[in-house]
Amino acid sequence: MMITYRMFAVWRRNFTVYKTFYKASLVGNIGEPVLYLFAMGFGIGSYITEMEGLSYIEYIAPGLIITSSMYSATFECTFGSFTRLTVQRTFDSILNTPVSLSELVMGEITWGMTKSMISGTTMMIIMTLFGLYTPDYSLPLILLTIMLTGYIFAAAALCCSSIAPSYDFFNYYFTLFITPMFFLSGVFFPMDNFPEAFQWFSQILPATGSVSLLRYFFHGIVSSPLYFSFCLLVVLSLGLTIAAIKITRNRLIK
């Protein structure tokens, strides 16, 4: 399971494709968060005077960055990777070259992570322009959190793609995994009022950790044990990497 610099050849392939339609992609990256900020922040936010000492728009800003990163990586490594795996047979072609399967998987995951970094960074710029964030020492830590989040969701999505028989399979993934994450990871409301079982469940969702880390870096609010959250993200990254390599190998090497 040797992983060398050759994984970047796979990353570069995806980047070369991205360069040809990055404009359309950026429109989505910019348009969506602005829409969320208006709808949630000014729309719903005007009915909510205060959340843990913050205005509603301030409260949800860190979480929106995480959900946007989560969705970018997820879409890239579900629909995107699955297309390359099946319809386009890109993976088959790559495996005919000295690039190993592990390197192929790493190239895909790091590309999914890059996509989430692009949307996360775009969000950060917009948040800063809206005055919701003032860049300070926390910036590298915020970017690191986004990176880890993107990595985890890219790896998880690739696992899903490698077992998916068809595109319809992603319905399960989104309904059972991604959508609950969107609502139950403390982006829009604290989980304190939920039954205890839900609170525990929420704590082990990777997005919950990312959201609370980011909320801490933004506003100094501690909503979950931060070291635990950070360690969970690291452990999940490693575990999902191994799983993604194993599952993709089972799918492709016969």
Partner: protein
């Protein structure tokens, strides 16, 4: 160490898929600079054999070496000297013609500038330089196939593996590909191809192996094999009532396929002399081809493929 005259050597090579043998204990040796063909019906094990040589499908047992390196141990080094032109359209639909070559070169660690110049050279060789920036879906079938072969040549491979290089193409496109493959051969490339196209095999291959049900049935030079196993000419006619009597009178091998009787004649004039008195109207004679050999060795019945 003296270099072996064989570029690929297989001994008792086996491949099982879930306990079912796709390739069962085959032996073959491909010489350097040779154009070697694997023929056989669908499911005969040709593609599986290719995939093992390419190091993408692990071998179950036996040994397989490529340029003195062992498949299963030196996979990365083997892949570096092989060029693969797959059967299906595996071109990168998201990239332009030249980017297909440049990105693929990246997998071989070829620097971008060098890749562009090699890529442009290959496009020129395959008469595609004007389509450099075109999208893949705007190319004709023949052009796509040429691009697949060009892509397989990007790392200047020692061995080129071609899976059905000209199937499904119109005659012009097919002949252009054959011409280019002959050019490559004259430059000293070793090539392995699989094909159903008998004409392709007889036009191009120095030697062929006919596979059936996971085994190699025959190996040799196409013309020699046909002469030896089929005969010089084939005489065909529709069966009439006195077929048994007719066939009994000739001393050659024959086969009956539906209402067609096929005689593989070593001595065609003597057969025709004997047949003359029966006044058969549907009689035809033609030279024996690889197709006759193929049908004779692998059977006329349609096999259900995988």
């Amino acid at each position: 160490m003296c270099q072996s005259p064989y570029i690929v050597e297989a001994q008792s090579l086996c491949k099982l898929y879930n306990g079912v043998a796709a390739v069962s204990g085959i032996n073959f040796r491909i010489k350097r600079g040779e154009l070697y063909g694997f023929l056989g019906p669908n499911g005969a094990g040709k593609t599986t054999t290719m995939r093992m040589i390419q190091c993408v499908s692990p071998i179950t047992s036996g040994s397989l070496t490529v340029n003195g390196m062992f498949v299963g141990r030196d996979d990365r080094d083997i892949k570096a000297i092989i060029g693969v032109a797959p059967q299906d359209d595996s071109l990168d639909q998201d990239l332009s013609v030249i980017d297909n070559l440049v990105v693929y070169a990246g997998y071989f660690d070829i620097p971008r500038n060098k890749a562009i110049s090699i890529g442009e050279g290959l496009l020129k060789f395959f008469h595609m330089e004007e389509r450099k920036k075109a999208r893949i879906d705007s190319l004709s079938g023949g052009m796509r196939r040429r691009l697949v072969i060009a892509r397989a040549l990007i790392n200047s491979p020692t061995i080129l593996i071609l899976d059905e290089p000209a199937s499904g193409l119109d005659p012009q496109a097919r002949h252009l590909i054959w011409e280019k493959l002959r050019d490559l051969k004259s430059q000293g490339a070793s090539m392995i191809l699989t094909t159903h196209y008998m004409e392709e095999a007889s036009q191009l291959c120095d030697r062929i192996s006919i596979m059936d049900q996971g085994s190699i049935v025959l190996t040799g030079n196409p013309t020699g094999l046909v002469k030896e196993n089929v005969g010089n000419e084939v005489i065909e006619f529709s069966i009439s009532d006195n077929a048994d009597k007719i066939l009994g009178s000739i001393n050659e091998r024959y086969e009956i396929d539906g209402d067609l009787c096929i005689i593989y004649a070593k001595n065609p004039s003597s057969v025709l002399g004997k047949l003359a008195k029966y006044e058969i109207s549907s009689l035809s004679r033609r030279p024996a081809t690889l197709e006759d050999l193929f049908l004779k060795t692998t059977g006329r019945q349609l096999k259900s493929g995988p």
